[in-house]
Symmetry: C2
Subunit: 365 residues, 2 copies
DNA sequence: CTGAAAGCGCTTACAG
DNA sequence: CTGAAAGCGCTTACAG
């Protein structure tokens, strides 16, 4: 029975193991057993609890005299009073907490998104919790629970797949999607077309005619779209593209290097686009193993413009995503959406191709 | 007045801007205005609210008949009931949320720590929020507020400095420190001595006599200790060390590269230890600019063993930290500490020197 | 085995 | 301008 509950009830449900130990005894209610309540402050200041609440929540203007306000504030400060957030939440029905669900917290790109979101959220006195969708298979269900149980007011979901979008449907009003599987679901998307146009134009301008594609092996729509967008640009430029110039790999370095090596061994292309800078790093390793010179024999372009791009040698030309703007805009839109109960029109983030030393004209001949 | 409050009251306090919009009107209490309560389930199942609570919190054994339990569970599932966490928290006095405060969420190492902690916390049905101590100057005060206001049951603080340790003192029972400024404060520490011994022995075995030190320019005790530990090992081995073989830099790539370049230009050493792999990456860049061959003319060792270490060319020899174990142990100890109100003896994590291609014997002559 | 009732600490009409 | 009171949705003795 316990196990059957684990699926249906949120992860925050009480009553197991350690939770039992933590359960309050009559005389205590947690580590701060002598924790201050609003009544205590009221008593100390000789006012009512209502007055304390009004003053400390900033709703006292024109309702409480300046003298009383000062007294209450001073008393609260002196005693070190902090309102109990659970009680506030219970009363107001809303936690000031947002969630951010990303495919992989370890990837620096998502770290950037998180920091930007957290910064924006803090302005509204919200905080942000992180969900790693890779390490947590039941994340979508848990997220719906958290939303339902009011633990979290809303969530930003980065790069969802079709299945989780389905699970998340009942809570979609509290969710802002970025680069969703279904483009109409996305509240924020990347201007992949423009980004890929810049890539294709850059390759073409250098004189490349045969351009390979090293794809990410993840079931995320964004990668499929990148591929289609680049192919469309090739068509536009009259460049042909062969399936054998393609390979795919996960972001794990060794398998990715192996895949890159196989691709380079049969390579008849002079330039290679990679779905992610991490894949480009694998290409560098493979090229090193095979003695293929970058950019002399092979031009490489990455995606994301991680700091890594400039740590590689030669420094990597890459498509930059405005992570800071995306994080901030996401929070802004999510908050509006949760409160006004209607979504704003989707936002399309521009991409910028940052030219560095990994691209050059194709080898002569 | 509002601004004075911002300092003293937690970031989760209600009553500003958007919060006002979000405040409940009489007939609604949040986005799920028709959200289910325990009474609704009780009514639907024709039992009392007590019974519902008992069953769904897994405390029904021997108190509620199997039939009633089944009925309640079925009804709750059918209705999609999720207990309101705020009410649970208010009642039990404890949120099942932990915080993890790290210097920089963007650094992959801290991403690893986070994922490990989140995984361990989930086993106890806790969740983890992240605090970036770099982007949030008032983090220590805010953390104390969060602890005080019961939003968070406990916190793991990675690499605190002296000032914040002071601010955090009142809440120290709910905090587990990793690599703290004050070593007696640390619940988890690294075995820097053994790690540095391995580094020194490795250099010495290769025949290096002049070994430089590229230090992190952060006010964290861990870096000072790394330095002292390595110097002690040099002494033990009878190797001398000159101040001019030292430099320091932040983790920002361009300034770090610049600092590395200046160090290499006046270099009279044949090997270089770096406080972090990110600094080693900067050394690689500088070496590339100056035409210094690694490892032919200069051996390099990093610290952390990020995935980056294997993306650099040649692959970087680095001191690995057991991030997964540290994250998991930290959660375990924190939970014990919060509940049993006494700390376990400190845990010392072992380090492992991973040998790769960036170290070799010094150049002849 | 089950239910009625108290109470966690707040916020907010409402009455003065 | 201030206070008494209701109630948010739970959990948990306590009484049957």
């Amino acid at each position: 029975m316990t196990s059957s509950r684990k699926g249906s009830i949120t992860a925050f449900h009480a009553g197991r193991d350690i939770a039992t130990v933590a359960a309050p005894r009559k005389e205590s209610n947690g580590p701060f057993r002598d924790s201050l309540t609003g009544v205590a402050v009221a008593k100390a200041a000789s006012v009512s609890q209502s007055t304390v609440s009004l003053v400390l929540s900033g709703k006292a203007a024109g309702r409480v005299s300046a003298a009383t306000q000062a007294l209450v504030e001073e008393t609260a400060r002196r005693l070190g009073y902090q309102p109990n957030v659970s009680a506030q939440m219970l009363r107001t029905g809303m936690a000031k907490v947002l969630a951010l669900a990303v495919p992989n917290v370890k990837q620096p790109y998502f770290g950037q998104i998180f920091v930007a979101a957290e910064l924006a959220a803090r302005e509204f006195e919200y905080s942000v919790i992180l969900i790693d969708t890779t390490t947590d298979p039941g994340w979508a269900g848990r997220l719906v629970s958290m939303l339902r149980s009011r633990l979290v007011a809303g969530c930003i979901v980065y790069a969802s797949d079709g299945a989780s979008e389905e699970t998340l449907r009942p809570a979609r009003r509290q969710i802002l999607f970025i680069e969703a599987e279904n483009p109409r679901t996305s509240g924020i998307d990347l201007d992949l077309q423009a980004g890929m146009r810049a890539v294709a134009n850059h390759f073409a301008a250098l004189g490349h005619k045969r351009i390979g594609y090293f794809a990410a092996e993840y079931p995320k729509a964004t990668f499929k779209r990148r591929f289609r967008a680049l192919l469309a640009e090739f068509d536009r430029l009259g460049l042909r593209h062969e399936p054998e110039w393609q390979a795919s790999a996960s972001f794990e370095l060794d398998p990715a290097t192996e895949a890159a090596r196989r691709l380079l061994e049969k390579s008849r292309f002079t330039a290679l686009f990679c779905d992610d800078d991490l894949l480009a790093a694998a290409v560098y390793r493979a090229a090193g193993q095979l003695g293929v010179a970058i950019p002399g024999q092979l031009s490489v372009v990455g995606f994301n413009d991680l700091e890594l791009a400039r740590m590689l040698h030669p420094e990597l030309t890459s498509v930059a995503i405005p992570a800071n703007a995306i994080g901030a805009i996401a929070v802004d839109r999510l908050l509006r959406q949760v409160q006004q109960k209607r979504a704003a029109p989707p936002y399309v983030a521009g991409l910028e191709l940052r030219l560095r030393a990994s691209t050059a004209p194709p080898p002569a001949g």
